[in-house]
Amino acid sequence: MNPRVVGANLVVSIKSFYREKTAMFFTMAFPIILILVFGTIFMDQENVSFHLYVQDLDHTDSSAQLVNTLELNGKFQITKVEPAVNATQYAKNNKLNLVLTIPEGYERSLMQRMMRNDPNASATITYIYDPSSTSVATKMEILNSVFAEINQRMSGKPPFIRSAETSILTKKYRFIEFFIPGIIAMAVMTASLFGTVNVNTELRQKGVIRKLSTTPITRTDWILANILYQFLLAVISTIAMLLVSYAVFHVSLQINAWLPVFIVLDVFAFVGIGMILTRFVREAQSAAAAANAIMFPMMFLSGSFFPIEMMPGFLQTLAGILPLYYVNEGLRASMVFVDNMAALRHSAIIGVFAAVVFILGIIATKWEEGK
């Protein structure tokens, strides 16, 4: 190994990258765009609030108080519908999935129940709804639970079954905080795999590798330079992703020594896979296809975007054999759950994997074109 030779290759790689503006933009911007898009989508879901249209046919203090209770629940933004209009027609015309109608005589029935304790006095609130809407069921469930609570209170007895929540986490984390370690792992994988495969097949196809084989550069120098370059890109891209996450979504993540450890292992594992692919795929185009074939299942099945618990059992088992799964889990263990033992466990698994594929990658890399 010669540091000057490694350095010379590193400089060439960085200059080439810097001078190819579109590639630079997409390498850096793609993960950031993902974070912004998914972060925005899921941020809304966390503070979800539904529009609710209410037609108050009773028009009394009591009915107004009911509407007020719904509003105070925090899940609804209430819009009032004039009592004069036909609510069904109104919902149709305005493409509303739910209009709540408080019947005339609501207050009267309420008084009968409260004052005279008449068990037959009741009020029927009507849901005028569109069953084809996906969110209407959620709205109705929330409304049902609000009404159930009102009914329970009116019974005058304290509830028998109560519920209490105990989180297994030291603190409550948000989806975006779960998401970011996955995107970091994925972005580093993509850059390492594609970078290695594209650059090496292109240089081989163009004959640059053949020229290099007539110079004193060794395979070790070449591979080491490649690894360093990919690590550098990974660090820059990770910093960019974290800055955006902190600035835009105010995430709370633990940044500790595990982060560089997992980035290094991620780089080694996927540069190794890239080197093995380069050996077997001759053309640059088929190399990109082969890299995609490895990357896409990895991206979706190893829990980069969503927890693997959401997948069917056999897919969860499959996730267990994907290297990216261990990077994802390891990064989450260190950045979100602050679980050093879990991080250690995952780093050991991905570490062994990275060592094996990297050694295979070195063996697979060859300079000479012919035999």
Partner: protein, 317 residues
Amino acid sequence: MMKEAEHVIEVEKLTKRYGDLLAVNDISFNVRKGEVFALLGPNGAGKTTTVEIIDTIRTPTSGKVSLLGMDVTKKKHDIVPRIGVLPQGFSSFDRITVRETLQYYSRLFRLRDTDVDGLIELVTLKDKTQEIYKNLSGGLQQRLGIAIALVNDPEVVFLDEPTTGLDPRARREVWDVLLGLKKKGTTVFLTTHYMEEAELLADTVAIISKGKIIAMGSPGELIESNANYLVLTLQFVDEQAFEIVRKMGFEPVQDNRKNIKVRVEHTDDVQKILNAIKDAGTSLHSLDVRKPNLEEVFLKLTGEALREGPAGGRGAE
């Protein structure tokens, strides 16, 4: 023994097979120190295979190749720092400038005192030093490739088809660079399918066809021993001149520009033909008498043309 010591390349019974294909078939030759040695042959003759075995890119099936006194199959690491190679279809990093490329290769050879400016001057790329590789024309890219091959001040330079794919002007510019190397006394091993290139640059030419060397010597020797005749070309003559020459017992060939080419043994024959045309009162615009070139030698030896299409350069005269 003295002569042996002068050989920088010794090839003995070299054979290379790719499966059933016999690319190089039992060839032997030596290259002397300081000479320009050209391996001349058509595409697929085995030129590149031969040069890539000598410059350590490939390994032979059998035979012995020694370069600078070392076995190429065993001493690659000792040989590489002492040679310079322009491989066939040379290419470099697209977005790296001329100067940066030379600095990069200099570092690969672990050198600190490479005269990058001198090399740039040698291949006349002075006004392109800040240009990235991708933006250079084919001829300039090849010239940069030659400069790279010289970055370690090599004892032997291998140039595998340095002008293939270049237009005539770019080719001449590369030749100027190579003539400069020749003047400096650099040992150059060149492969080409342009006979003009071999004739202009080489001290020794080895003609290779179907994996075999079929003739070897200086361009002059090859022509002398294989094509002992003169070519008389009569330009813009009347139709009847062709008949006159044919009746004299020669075998004239007419091209579509009304030129007649005749092979003659002796200068006396030229006189006879001219006299006969003059006596017949036929007009003659101009004439040309010359020795045959390597193209014709190759044609005679192999029965095939060196490359497809118009024979280029002088062939059309």
